[in-house]
């Protein structure tokens, strides 16, 4: 409800990734002429990026909202009630997941309207939606951890560039086999965000690629487990009844 009441929380995650994708798809169209480029449509190649970029926005939104609850003392007041910690965390993250699914449906609609063909068909679209929900949940948990730990909206916003590094130094604009700079290729290979993008991308341009799917789901589940554990611990410390 809180997210729905604040247009500033849900409009930028919808519009900004699509705007960036549109501009990049137009500007980078010539890169499809490179030998080894996996598709002739750069838009199909780039469509995977908004799914992950939108989830990064979810991290920031979840973090900023929760940090506001910490700053205003709302969490302190909740700690006086019998509310269980996990119920609070699940409640806060469910909004992030709902927004993640809305974002994914929006990106899908934009892609399909622009003529992108899904190589994996309708079942692939379903898998993509499940993946988008999972990514939102896991990144939302990361945002929650940062918020409980830092307790300040400004500090969460200051983390934004740090999270963006992972997106920028990945295979978001070029397939890893076509990255010419050695250190960048190594960094992109070590970066889990590359595998998340490639997981979504494989459903769009390849079809059913078990390796890409396994790596994509594997990394996000791993990040999710770690983030949820950290968020639970940080919340427990924040809600310590004294």
């Amino acid at each position: 409800m809180r997210t729905a009441r604040q247009p500033a929380s849900f409009i930028p995650p919808l519009i900004f990734p699509v705007a960036l994708m549109t501009v990049n798809a137009a500007g980078l169209r010539s890169s499809t002429h490179l030998q080894g480029f996996p598709t002739t449509s750069f838009l199909a190649f780039a469509l995977a990026v908004p799914f992950i970029q939108g989830a990064l926005f979810s991290t920031m939104n979840a973090g900023t909202d929760i940090a506001r609850d910490v700053q205003t003392g709302f969490i302190n007041r909740l700690s006086l009630t019998t509310l269980r910690n996990w119920a609070l965390l699940v409640g806060q993250l469910s909004g992030v997941v709902a927004l993640g699914i809305v974002q994914a449906l929006f990106y899908l609609a934009v892609g399909l309207t622009a003529g992108v063909h899904f190589a994996s068909g309708p079942a692939g679209i379903l898998v993509l939606l499940v993946y988008a929900a999972l990514v939102s949940l896991c990144f939302g948990a990361l945002g929650a951890f940062l918020a409980y730990r830092l307790g300040s909206g400004e500090s969460i916003q200051a983390m934004f560039p740090v999270l963006f590094v992972f997106l920028f130094i990945s295979s978001m604009n070029a397939p890893r086999n076509l990255i010419g700079v050695g250190w960048f290729k190594t960094a992109a290979t070590l970066n889990p965000v590359s595998y998340m993008i490639e997981c979504v991308r494989s459903l769009i341009i390849v079809g059913w690629d078990p390796e890409a799917l396994l790596l994509g789901f594997g990394f996000i589940v791993l990040i999710g487990i770690v983030s949820l554990a950290l968020a639970s611990r940080a919340l427990r410390l924040r809600m310590t009844r004294t």
Partner: protein, 256 residues
């Protein structure tokens, strides 16, 4: 009444805030470096696209874009500071205290320029450290940095004008988005001649395209349409200067 004490006072205070607050200095420094890394590192194979001809290489090609982008955004981020000053009431005290209020705008503009100078220095060092090659001489490089300086003024006067009209940081997207769009509707990744479709039409009428192409020409040693690029940059600077001073009048009329 002297102007300089107002200009220097506002500039010193703004610069101190901008360079000592990690929440402000980090995005200003990191974003250009991220863009440079992502574009020059991740897209370097674009130099093999048929028709791409830029002798100094793709790193230099992207360096010019990121330099101009950092110039514009240092101006925009300083505009955020103006909005914040109005929001928390500091600007009202500044308007009361300044004998010549024009100095307030010029002070912020000077701070924007010095703030960008720090970013540009770091960016240039990083670019040379990763092996950027240049074909132009010292005069060309001066031309490039002067062009970027004009872009910095445009970015600040645009954002400062918006900040003085809306007087709230909630206007930040209005300051930022148009600048972002103008920058990305230019030939960012490949030269204008290799763009296709709607982006080619938009880039052709985008004044920043010519500033960017001239900047890239400076670094390659053969700048095209130099006069047109400087005329456009100075023309936009004068227009946005006017825009910012009208904004100051509106802020004065509203009582800060």
């Amino acid at each position: 009444m002297k102007l300089w004490p107002v200009v220097s006072g506002v500039a010193r205070r703004t610069l101190k805030n901008a360079l000592t607050n990690p929440q402000i200095v980090l995005p200003t420094m990191l974003f250009p470096l991220f863009f440079f890394t992502a574009f020059a590192g991740g897209l370097s194979q674009l130099r093999h696209v048929p028709g791409f001809d830029f002798p100094p290489g793709y790193t230099a090609f992207q360096f010019v874009f990121v330099l101009l982008q950092s110039a514009a955004f240092s101006g925009v981020f300083t505009g955020f500071g103006v909005a914040r000053d109005f929001e928390n009431g500091f600007a009202k005290r500044l308007l009361l205290a300044a004998p010549r209020r024009v100095g307030i705008v010029l002070g912020y503009a000077l701070a924007a320029l010095l703030r960008w100078a720090v970013v540009a220095t770091v960016l240039t060092i990083v670019a040379f450290a990763v092996g950027m090659r240049i074909g132009g001489g010292p005069v060309d490089l001066v031309g490039l940095y002067v062009l970027a300086m004009l872009v910095n003024f445009c970015g600040f006067f645009w954002a400062g004008g918006m900040a003085m009209r809306f007087r709230t940081i909630q206007a930040a997207p209005l300051m930022q988005m148009p600048v972002f769009l103008v920058l990305f509707f230019a030939p960012v990744y490949v030269p204008l001649s290799l763009l296709q479709g709607w982006i080619e039409g938009v880039a052709t009428v985008n004044p920043l395209t010519y500033v960017l192409e001239t900047g890239r020409g400076f670094i390659a040693g053969n700048p095209p349409h130099v006069l047109a690029a400087f005329a456009l940059a100075i023309g936009m600077g004068v227009a946005f200067w006017w825009w910012a001073f009208l904004g100051l009048r509106k802020a004065e009329a509203a009582g800060g």
